[in-house]
Amino acid sequence: MSMQKDPASFEQAQALGLNEDEWGVILKRLGRTPNQTELGIFSVMWSEHCSYKSSRRHLRKLPTTGACVICGPGENAGVIDIGDGLACIFKMESHNHPSYIEPYQGAATGVGGIMRDVFTMGARPVALLNALRFGSPDHPKTRALVSGVVAGIGGYGNCVGVPTVSGETNFHAGYDGNILVNAMCVGIAEQDSIFYSAAKGAGNPVLYVGAKTGRDGIHGATMASAEFDDETEAKRPTVQVGDPFTEKRLIEACLELMQTNCIVAIQDMGAAGLTSSSIEMADKGGVGIDLDLDKVPQRETHMTPVEMMLSESQERMLIVLRPGKESEAQEIFERWELDVALIGKTTETGHMVLHHKGETVCDIPIAPLGDDAPNYDRPWVAPPTLPVINAGEIAPGDPAKALLSMVQSPDMASKRWIWEQYDRHVMADTLKASGGASDAAVVRVHDTNKALAMSSDCTPRYVLADPYEGGKQAVAECWRNLIASGASPMAVTDCLNFGNPERPDIMGQFVRAIDGMAEACRALDFPVVSGNVSLYNETAGTAIPPTPVIGGVGLIDDAATAMGFGGAVAGDTLILLGETTGWLGASLYLRDIEGREEGAPPPIDLEQERRTGMLVRTLIHGGQVHAVHDLSDGGLACAATDMALASRCGVHLMASDTLSDAAWFFGEDQGRYLIAVKKGAVDALLDQAQQAGVGAKVVGTMKGLDVVLGDAMPLALDLLSQKHENWLPAYMEDA
């Protein structure tokens, strides 16, 4: 049989990242040596990216169920119930490595990929978010990476016509060699037309739609181990180029097809393209699948079976149809001028069988690909516990000087230069987006009074200092941001960016961060419904700071009640909710003003977090507050300054009689909110907080046109605004 042509060797398997045990399992299951095509398929299916072999057992610790959950992890994206027969479908994913190699296309295709995960389930994408981590601004590559990544994200999302509503951007030398580009997509579907990937039933036609297949993004190792000949240069793996125009047509065509009764299962072709999409659909459906590779629309000539199976060409989908629906489906894609081809059918064999030029080039049982997939319990060591920094030991400084410096520090400076390149309003349902003076973006559910709030968060400083507390904090901050926008937090997706899991210290970060996330998700009733793991983010033995990004979604029943931090007016009293101890360990102040990246991060009392959040929600719903802002990087002073700038009104904050200025104004104790209330409402509100068991303290007043911290020099709003706005454009234009 031709399957036995081109047998693979263990050395080739090794070159593709498989170890001796994994090779042994393949031999045993096949009862023979795999050929090159089969080896390629095993190698990608059992890669870290597809098999989650280092992370699977730990991810299981995350809570994934809850009253709102319709579909948790395991499908293309998570699905939650938002009432009225509607569902919200969302997920976050990384495109780190491709974005470092080719920032524009890497970031663009990251956005394209995450949108496909969402619309493949039947949702119309309604919002995009992006969480970006770049190296130090001084690193020679940083500027070009920022410029390319931002242009790529905008270039793709703007063209497809889905608003990019929020994100976060950090700079740190720890990302010099490995930037992080994480994209999140949120979509809305009718609950009775959600599509899954299980291709149940044999004899159903398999339809390929979208762009043609080229040699894009085929695993470098595969090509490196291929025979060397004159064509090697021409065949070398090519960077994936995104085509948002095709994506847009694919969205419209797929959503149109979903209105018919044609689809058994549908899946986008993401990592490992045709291989993983076909195997996952067959595996979940408990069937086999036969594909005729000659029918696959091809962009290039002389593609080999393994090249076609591993190609990561973008903007492609695989659909299993009900028999007899072939022409109805094909007509829709033809009208949208997309490539479409019937390339095979599901079978009863339980095998994946591939035909190419009259030969059978692959015949492997599907179940073992999943059942026998490696699942490692990698050794890990508990991260060291860092000392708690005593705020009293930090030299007193001028808080006004510190504030002025912090508002223009790379992490705190306005990211307007970025988000003005994103269409934030297309679809005409964006209530609050980047720059909209809200802790979460808010997007109305089309033609209803409801809205979804969404936010992405992680504080890598904290996670590096203490992965467990840092994991908790990422979840809690996301929850807090949703609360502050007036939403009821519903569920999260995550994107876990770490270094090499084969190093016990890195594995320790991973394990403990998940423990922390799991605890916070459980305590806050904030289940994880989808996510993505990106490991091996390291260069020359140096790993990135551990960065588990949390993307949360919440629901606002009446869009008109969405809250922000720009509504404070002169005369309002500022009340600080939550407990303040003046925690400076691992704070932005300690890093940016004192130049020290030290100490344990602030701990979180999740019970208290929940109580405080519920009180804030009650106050917002009761119409008792003009503005709400959670306290995060830079503490009280930075939150109050945000409020002042957004409200175009000065603020006077009182000093503390027990804490130093640094600790009081810049400490980063968790679980806190700053609220602006009418003067006459203060006493009642303080009582209400006391009854709810939440610390509350009057800390200042909105007035004038300066920000005043205790006895320090007043800082004019205009000056603060100018410094805050100028840093990034000045940095980017200094090419």
Binding site: E102, A211, G214, A234, T238, V241, F245, E300
Partner: protein, 80 residues
């Protein structure tokens, strides 16, 4: 002296622009169009007269700015 830099997508790299152009031409009745690729031309006026040196410098400009060699090829021609 004048240098003309011609930048085109590397072979094998997807060229959505070229595809769209070919599709549109066919729709307009230009059936003989088999395919199209779209590239860039950058014409530089240079205050330097030594062809040898100019070529070397423009090569550098291409590598450092004008072309994205991950996805593009370039060629240079010099005119007096």
């Amino acid at each position: 002296m004048k240098a003309i830099v011609h930048i085109r997508p590397r072979s094998g790299v997807l060229d959505p622009q070229g595809q769209a152009v070919a599709g549109a031409l066919k729709h307009m009745g230009f059936d003989e169009v088999l395919s199209a690729r779209q590239g860039k031309i950058i014409e530089l006026e240079l205050g330097d007269d030594d062809e040898q040196a100019v070529r070397q410098r423009v090569q550098k400009m291409c590598e450092h700015l004008l072309a994205n060699t991950v996805i593009e090829d370039f060629s240079i021609s010099i005119e007096p």
